[in-house]
């Protein structure tokens, strides 16, 4: 961060404010200017992020950097800026309108405690669009959209962000002499800082409600809300800093993991195998290892999985497509072979059974082997293996059995693929061996 050597006398440019006479936006911006002068940060490193509304025009009257985006979203842009460049001073200027349409962002920025400073120019209505009521319009107040008096209760902005963990929260008015100091204090705070600054919209709210600066206290009293500093939590970690502190350099898990071709398959055409089981049977990972073994044998493999949204219950289906040539289309109509492991798997694949060709093969676990199909039927009995298999081993064991029965590629490739599975090598190796025993027995 660069700091100017000579302190600037002002952060304003020479454009006059565009606001109505008596509008509270002008004194708040003067206070912001005083705070910026006081803090002395290089204007290039201060970003005023303005929302939409009369208050949203504010950034144009400063020599700082600026971001003027969409209505209600200023906090999201400010968050992105702060995350990417935590060294910048990021100040959001938003109206009370923005706290309604962008309420979710207000809550979540407070909760994350991202180190931005939010100035809410709270004039109890939408100035720019013609004095409609906002989330902060006091109950009973008249606006262009509440002709019989506002029926809604105003949002307690400060209470909301404070209870959700904001680092600094203050409520006051545009008339408060200490406003520049409070703005500077908020900017100095590490975490999420918010100032709810009550002010007068002379064009609408003042006219419709005979509202005066003295009425602020009455409204506060009616609501029973405090003013002044409402929360200071320097103990809470600021999000951008916490993110960096938690980040650790590490090896990428998305870089290519090449599979060597060590075996040779004699498969001369596209072949599809559907494995139908239940969640918890590790069908998907079993088929995945099988695919890797096929690739070791020089084949091209593709795999589409089907499972319900509730992944730990119900069916789990995986379709494996194998081909000696690259696969441009991995869709499957009726598979060449079908492995059925459970009732869930049977229920999901039942419709296919009558459509299978007489040359195709169905391999089913004993309790789901009572089937009607034109295909050949074989029973895979996990009981024949010398190792006792857990349910979680069924997917892979059945795949190994099917590969050995169908002769899709050398079973040595399965053994190698299991051995290349790092931590899991030993465990998967045993399951593959058991599957091969099941296959041998079924043949």
């Amino acid at each position: 961060m660069t700091t100017t050597i000579t302190p600037l006398a002002t952060y304003r440019n020479d454009l006059p404010y565009p606001f109505c006479p008596g509008c509270g936006h002008s004194p708040i911006l003067d206070a912001l200017n005083a705070a910026l002068v006081n803090r002395g940060t290089d204007p290039a490193n201060v970003v005023i992020v303005s929302d939409i509304g009369c208050s949203g025009l504010s950034d144009q009257y400063f020599i700082t950097s600026a971001f003027h985006g969409l209505h209600g979203r200023s906090i999201t842009y400010a968050t992105g800026i702060k995350l990417a460049r935590p060294d910048l001073d990021v100040v959001v200027v938003m109206g009370d309108g923005g706290t309604g349409i962008g309420g979710a962002h207000l809550l979540n920025a407070a909760r994350r405690n991202i180190g931005i400073t939010v100035l809410v120019f709270n004039n109890f209505n939408f100035g720019m669009t013609g004095g409609q009521h906002s989330t902060t319009t006091p109950a009973g107040a008249f606006t262009s959209t509440t002709s019989t008096g506002n029926l809604e209760r105003p949002l307690d902005i400060c209470g909301t962000v404070a209870v959700n963990g904001a680092g600094y929260v203050w409520r006051g008015t545009s008339f408060d002499a200490d406003l520049p100091d409070r703005i500077a204090e908020a900017m100095d705070a590490d975490g999420f800082a918010l100032l709810d600054i009550w002010e007068l919209c002379t064009a609408y709210f003042v006219r419709s409600n005979k509202y005066t600066r003295r009425a602020f206290q009455t409204t506060l009293d009616e609501l029973g809300w405090p003013a002044g500093i409402i929360q200071q939590r320097p103990d809470l970690p600021e999000y951008a800093a916490a993110y960096r502190a938690a980040a650790k350099p590490g090896r990428s898990s998305v870089s290519a993991a090449p599979i060597p071709v060590t075996q040779r398959s004699t498969l001369d055409r596209r072949y599809t195998l559907l494995v139908a089981g239940s969640a918890g049977g590790r069908v998907r990972s079993g088929v995945r290892l099988t695919a890797q073994a096929a690739i070791r044998s020089g084949l091209y493999a593709a795999q589409a999985d089907d499972y319900p949204i509730t992944v730990r219950s119900g069916h789990s289906l995986s379709t494996l497509v194998l081909s000696p040539a690259p696969l441009d289309f991995a869709g499957v109509g009726v598979p060449d072979a079908l492995v059925i492991l459970s009732e869930d798997g049977l229920a999901k694949s039942k419709a296919l059974l009558p459509r299978l060709s007489p040359e195709s093969l169905v391999m089913a676990f004993p309790d789901v082997a009572a089937l009607e199909t034109p295909a050949r039927l074989m029973v895979l009995d996990p009981g024949v293996s010398s190792t006792r298999l857990a349910r979680a081993d069924h997917g892979l064991a059945a795949c190994a059995a099917a590969v050995s029965i169908l002769g899709l590629f050398p079973t040595a490739a399965l053994v190698e693929a299991a051995a290349a599975s790092g931590r899991l090598a030993e465990e998967l190796g045993k399951v593959v061996a058991a599957g091969l025993e099941i296959g041998a027995a079924a043949r």
Binding site: A44, R73, A104, V254
Partner: protein
């Protein structure tokens, strides 16, 4: 079974992966250092991987409170010097809409992945579809040109992600990568030499301070300036002059709006990509894109193997429409078939580009993929 294996001594190394992984890998290689997204099937794997990878490479990844926050954070981060990616599916694109306009207006380079799923609203979360083709084109107010690329394979997911980053930098605009559930989530075998990286251009340094925008000549793209680089930088989504101050001055507003269109329209040759596989004897041309192109390529192979010539154009750029390529490819054919997993959204464009041509569609919206057999049937 007969011995008919690949007879080469050592085939190039291969991997078993999916489109989501290829997109994330490409983004990281493209220098992407900021990601924000909100979970949605089938785009969630990109979010999960980015959340895991970014802290390892010194970047930032955030799960936003919603899609609006996610794309908003990306836009803010780009203005603070980051290279950003976000990913969602159709419902999330709906929530991106207004901010996409902001990125167009404020001239923000940003790559947006739309992993399409079926149907309007929640639709089919785990079901393939290609229904967002016109949506991404016209998905924000004002109606300005947009760039959208559509990979048709895992290697193309990689290549076109990098290309999307490069085009975003080149034209200072959001670039869509339009994929789908099958492309992103189906595991596939990829020969490592099939990945084609792209040199993503660095962000040029700006010369004259204080002018973040420039409208003359209309098709020129001024360098992006970002915060924290020593100079004051202004950004705005309102109609603005070249110094980013709000204006209604008609000649300035006119120049701005024409610039936003011209910078893309006048450089179509840099953006439009398509793979034409033409047979001069063919009477039919198949125009396809995305996951459907895989079936089209397979159909072309089978048709030719059976002695029936067939031509194919696979579009990698959907927007702007590669019109010149389409016209060239259609020369000499009698009819054009456009298979898509929607009710004919891109067929409209093909019809517009090839007036008088017999253009028909092959359309599925049942959540299943179009098969090579269906295409062969349709061209018979």
């Amino acid at each position: 079974m007969p011995q008919a294996m690949d007879q080469r001594a050592t085939p190039p190394p291969r991997e078993y992966t999916d489109g989501s992984t290829a997109i994330v890998r490409a983004a990281l290689e493209a220098g992407c250092n900021f990601f924000a997204g909100y979970p949605i099937t089938p785009a969630s794997p990109i979010l999960t991987m980015m959340m895991r990878e970014m802290p390892r490479v010194g970047g930032i990844a955030v799960q936003g409170e919603d899609e609006i926050a996610s794309i908003g954070m990306c836009i803010g981060a780009v203005m603070a010097g980051a290279r950003a990616l976000t990913a969602t599916s159709g419902p999330g694109i709906s929530l991106y809409s207004e901010n996409l306009g902001l990125a167009v207006m404020g001239e923000i380079p940003l790559v947006v992945v739309d992993v399409q799923r079926l149907g309007p609203a929640t639709g089919g979360a785990t079901t393939v579809g290609q229904g967002d083709v016109q949506f991404v084109r016209w998905g924000t107010s004002g109606g300005y040109p947009i760039i959208a690329l559509a990979p048709s394979s895992v290697p193309e997911c990689y290549h076109l992600t990098m290309k999307a980053f490069d085009l975003a930098e080149r034209f200072r605009c959001p670039v869509f990568l339009l994929t789908d559930k099958e492309l992103n989530m189906t595991m596939a075998t990829v020969a490592l030499d099939a990945y084609r990286p792209v040199d993503v251009r660095p962000r040029p340094r700006a010369e004259e301070p204080g002018r973040p925008y420039r409208y003359t000549p209309a098709e020129d793209v001024p360098p992006l300036r970002h915060y924290g680089a020593g100079e004051t930088v202004r950004f705005t989504g309102s109609t603005h002059d070249e110094r980013a101050f709000i204006t209604k001055h008609p000649p300035t507003v006119d120049a701005l709006n024409r610039h936003l269109a011209a910078k893309i329209e006048e450089h179509r040759d840099e953006i439009e990509m398509a793979a034409a596989d033409l047979d001069p004897r063919a009477e039919t041309l198949v125009v396809s894109y995305g996951v459907t192109a895989g079936a089209a390529r397979e159909a072309v192979r089978r048709s030719r193997a059976g002695g029936a010539p067939l031509s194919s154009v696979v579009l990698q750029t959907l927007w702007p429409v590669p019109e010149a390529t389409l016209r060239r490819a259609a020369t000499g054919v009698r009819r054009v078939l456009v298979p898509e997993l929607n009710l004919g959204q891109y067929r409209r464009e093909v019809e517009r580009v090839l007036p008088g041509m017999d253009v028909s569609g092959l359309n599925r919206v049942d959540g299943e993929m179009i098969t090579p057999e269906q295409i062969l049937e349709a061209v018979r």
